[in-house]
Structure formats: structure tokens, C-alpha cells
């Protein structure tokens, strides 16, 4: 078990929980997709895992350790990276400065930082080519690549991805999903939330469906192939 969410209840106001008794397990090295209609609580779930919201009940474990109550800026240190919705590059800083900040938590280990940087450049030659450019001048797809590369500087074990396709044109969505599958193949555990249900189901190993803040269905991809249309129809 890489990430284990154990019957959490969470929301923005104490009296009105958005998630009720939700459990999700993300297996190590697998890609787990969380899907559901608007308002199902997908984003709330990610926010709760990442410490923006504190669950009123239940617990969250990462590799056996409880991470409940940690602040968002303590998560990367625990090996959990979070690719947030929309662009998050530092637009007026160079590509290299962006990547260096990806190594903020290892900044005192100059050698490890240099190595991580070299590795990222090897994996993404386009970023090496543009390392002196300000990140805001990159294309939308390149910015996403930079965001992903930046998060992998410290070799986290788990990556949470929130709506990777928002604001990107269809061609780029395919590329980003290719990149996400790549990350999985490199051994990262991935948890993804996306409105583009079909896209997420295509690449996922395991799927959770949330509905109205509750667990609805879950199972391996095979269980959903062919029946996903029925699941979606239930939402409407």
C-alpha cells in the first residue's frame, strides 16, 4: 500500500462534510484514477490528502505512516508530490531556477541537487535546451512538462495529479497522458483525478468512482471496460 485513505470525513465547514466515510487505496507503482461527476468530492479528496483540509474523521497513511495533519509544504518531504490544477510554473523565473526550486527540500545537499538536475535534463532534453528562458515564455505543453519535471527533482514516491487536462488542447492532453504513463513505468505511484473520464480510465490500473461524497464503485480497469458508459449514465 503506497497511499491509504481510511474512511475519512472532510469538508470546508465542519457542519457540512463534502466527503463522508471515503476510503481509497493506491497500490505502489500503480496508477489509480478517481473519477466522478461534478461535485462528487474529487478535488476535496485531493485537498484533504495534501493537507489543505483536515479530515474530521478517519486517517491517511503513506507507506504506513500517518500523514494526517501535516501541512502542504511538509508533504514533499514525506515523498508525496502534488501536480496542482492549472499552470504552476514561476513565470518570471528561468527554467533552471524553476527546477532548482523543485529541489528546495534538498537545497543543502548541493551534490544531490546537481545530480537531480542532470537527470531531469537527460530525461527532458527540451528543458535543457530552454534552461535560460523564463518559464512564462514556454508553450502550454512545455510548461506542463516543466511542472512534472520540477516535482520529480526529489524523487517522490507518490504523485497526486489534479485535472491534468484542464486548459490544454486535445493534442497536448494526449502528450501529458503519455508522460503520466511514463512516470508510472518509472515506478512512481500515481493518483489522478480528471473530468476526462475516458482518458483516465484508459491509463488507470485501478479506478474509484465517487458520487455525492461517497464511495460508489471501485475495481481494476478490466471491471470498467465496457461498463464505464453505464457508470457515467448513472450520474445523469
Amino acid at each position: 500500500m503506497s497511499l491509504e485513505i481510511k474512511s475519512i470525513t472532510s469538508g470546508y465547514v465542519k457542519e457540512v462534510p463534502v466527503l463522508r466515510d471515503v476510503s481509497v487505496v493506491a497500490r505502489e507503482g500503480a496508477l489509480t484514477a478517481i473519477i466522478g461527476p461534478n461535485g462528487a468530492g474529487k478535488s476535496t479528496l485531493l485537498k484533504t490528502i495534501y493537507g489543505y483540509l483536515r479530515p474530521s474523521e478517519g486517517d491517511i497513511y503513506h507507506h504506513g505512516e500517518s500523514i494526517k495533519g501535516l501541512k502542504p509544504d511538509e508533504m514533499l518531504g514525506q515523498g508525496i508530490a502534488h501536480l496542482i490544477q492549472g499552470h504552476s510554473v514561476f513565470p518570471a523565473m528561468t527554467v533552471e531556477e524553476n527546477l532548482e526550486l523543485g529541489g528546495w527540500i534538498i537545497k543543502h545537499d548541493r551534490e544531490a541537487l546537481e545530480m537531480a538536475l542532470a537527470e531531469v535534463y537527460e530525461r527532458y532534453p527540451i528543458l535543457k535546451e530552454r534552461r535560460r528562458m523564463v518559464a512564462g515564455a514556454l508553450s502550454g505543453g512545455e510548461q506542463r512538462t516543466l511542472e512534472i519535471a520540477r516535482l520529480t527533482m526529489t524523487q517522490p514516491r507518490t504523485i497526486l495529479i489534479d485535472e491534468p487536462s484542464v486548459g490544454l488542447m486535445p493534442k497536448l492532453v494526449d502528450r501529458i497522458y503519455e508522460e503520466i504513463v511514463n512516470l508510472k513505468e518509472k515506478g512512481f505511484t500515481i493518483v489522478i483525478v480528471d473530468q476526462k473520464v475516458h482518458k483516465a480510465v484508459d491509463v488507470a490500473d485501478y479506478i474509484y468512482v465517487l458520487r455525492l461524497g461517497l464511495n460508489s464503485h471501485h475495481g481494476p480497469r478490466e471491471k470498467f471496460v465496457g461498463t464505464i458508459e453505464d457508470v457515467i449514465r448513472e450520474w445523469i
Binding site: D73, L76, R150
Partner: protein, 295 residues
């Protein structure tokens, strides 16, 4: 115009301008990173004046110690204000907190002025000069005091630039100002960055107060004039644009020096205010904003 007069005005303008730049940079830094318009910036300047006066006059230490004490003292004051008042406000007020921060800093301005009035009275506490003497080169008078102020102001701006541009803390502060949520996911503690940024902004105001004590003696309202000028600088340079604040500060200083000489004392305010109005109408992002950037 005679060359010597031109050089004289240039020096006077640069001295004024460097101080405006120093104040404006602090104000701009705080706005750029936190979105707060710090109306109490002039009172931080005033505290710098008092610290300088007490360290050099009452304790009798040399003036560089006074400047460092003002900078360090205001750094601490800034961090305490941020951690104690602004940060809780940000957490509690949610999205409305910007408006609330306006009210907070205006309130702080009133409180600090009156605290100074109660504690120190309405007495001007000045120092005639930091260094005595002057030199004359080809009919141009260089007052040592002015040269010291100018070079220390430039040194401070230079050190700040180095800190923001090259140190990892400086980079984290810039990252926080450009995308705070993104910075957080990289493990940067943004609330600490806010406190440090506010502290540095306050320290710059304190250093300005210390350097300018020969022109603005310490008194409860000492910050009122300089803060108005720093708002001018920040508007002309572009809110949140630190480089713009330096350029605008020096520009306004030079304009004032030349306007006072060629038109008459008082006209400098007319010209500078007209420029502010023109900038707000025609180029609200400031004269030095990169193309396409909104204020």
C-alpha cells in the same frame, strides 16, 4: 546652463532619488509578494529615525551602528507585525483579507504615530549631519553627508538585489510571489516567506529613516512625507515591480531637483503629481512594466 550647476543638481537629485528608491522598493516588495498596500510604511520609517537617534545620540555609538540597528530593529518589527497581525488576518478573513489588510495598516499608522507622540512627545530629534565637511571640485560642492547617504542607499539596494536574485531564500521569495500554491507543493513554507518579505520591506524603510535623519528629524509624523513620495514611486514604477521602483525613485528625485531649481520651490510637487496622474490614466501598470503585464 553651467556645467557645475548641472552636476550639482544631478548629485542632489540622485541623493533624493536613492532614498525614494529605498522606500519605494520596500513598499513594492511587500505589495508584489503579499498583495498588501502597507499604509504604515511611513511609520516604519519613523521608527528607523528614532532608533538612529537613540543609538547615535543617546547611547553615543557611531552612525554605521545606528543604521544597522535601524535595519535590524525594523526587520524584527516587520516579522512580528506579519506573524502577529497580518498572517492571522490572512488565515481568518479568507478572500476578503486584502480589504481587511488595508484597514489594518491604516490602523497601525494611526496607532504608531500616537504611541510615538505619547512616548517621545512632539519634539523634533535631529542630527545635523552624519559626517561633517564637504569638498569642492571645479566649483561643484559635494557635501560628504550626501555622498554617504547616496552610497549607502545604493549599497543597500545592491545587497537586496543580490539577495533576491541569487540566494536560495531570495528565489523562494520570488517563487512565492509568482505562484504561492506552486511554491507550497515544492516544500516552501510560504508563511515564513511572507514574514521574511515583510520584514525586509520594513527594514528598508528603517534604513531610509536612519539615513535621512539629517533631513527628516525624528518626530511622530516624520514618515508622512516620505511615505507619500514612496507611493508616487511605486505607482510610477509599477506596483510590485522592484526594479521599476528603483528606476522611478531616481527619476522622481532628479525631476524634483531640477524642477526646484528651474521653476521654484513647490513646483516639484506639481510636476510629480501630474506625472502620477498621467501614469495612472495612460499606463496604469507603471512606466517600467514589461509589455502586456497588468498592474
Amino acid at each position: 546652463m553651467e556645467f557645475s550647476i548641472f552636476v550639482q543638481l544631478l548629485v542632489l537629485g540622485l541623493v533624493r532619488g536613492s532614498m525614494y528608491a529605498l522606500m519605494g522598493v520596500g513598499l513594492s516588495l511587500i505589495f508584489g509578494i503579499m498583495g498588501i498596500v502597507n499604509f504604515a510604511h511611513g511609520e516604519l520609517f519613523m521608527m528607523g529615525c528614532y532608533l538612529m537617534y537613540f543609538v547615535t545620540r543617546m547611547v553615543g555609538l557611531p552612525f554605521p551602528v545606528g543604521i544597522i540597528a535601524s535595519g535590524a530593529g525594523l526587520l524584527i518589527v516587520g516579522i512580528i507585525l506579519e506573524k502577529g497581525l497580518i498572517s492571522p488576518l490572512r488565515r481568518k478573513a479568507g478572500r476578503e483579507w486584502l480589504m481587511d489588510s488595508f484597514v489594518l495598516t491604516i490602523g497601525l499608522m494611526v496607532i504608531f504615530q500616537n504611541l510615538a507622540l505619547i512616548t517621545f512627545g512632539a519634539i523634533q530629534r535631529g542630527i545635523p549631519n552624519l559626517v561633517t565637511g564637504q569638498m569642492v571640485i571645479r566649483e561643484v560642492v559635494f557635501i560628504y553627508d550626501h555622498l554617504v547617504i547616496l552610497s549607502l542607499a545604493l549599497l543597500t539596494v545592491g545587497l537586496l538585489w543580490y539577495f533576491i536574485k541569487y540566494t536560495s531564500m531570495g528565489k523562494a521569495i520570488r517563487a512565492t510571489s509568482q505562484h504561492s500554491e506552486g511554491a507550497q507543493t515544492l516544500g516552501i513554507d510560504v508563511s515564513t516567506m511572507y514574514a521574511i518579505a515583510f520584514g525586509i520591506g520594513a527594514a528598508l524603510a528603517g534604513i531610509s529613516g536612519a539615513l535621512l535623519i539629517t533631513l527628516f528629524p525624528a518626530n511622530p509624523n516624520a514618515g508622512m512625507g516620505p511615505v507619500l513620495k514612496s507611493f508616487v514611486v511605486v505607482i510610477v514604477g509599477g506596483l510590485g515591480n522592484v526594479k521599476g521602483a528603483v528606476a522611478a525613485g531616481i527619476m522622481v528625485g532628479l525631476l524634483e531637483a531640477f524642477a526646484m531649481f528651474f521653476l521654484a520651490g513647490g513646483w516639484q510637487n506639481v510636476i510629480v503629481t501630474s506625472i502620477v496622474i498621467a501614469v495612472l490614466v495612460f499606463k496604469p501598470a507603471g512606466l517600467f512594466a514589461p509589455a502586456g503585464e497588468r498592474p
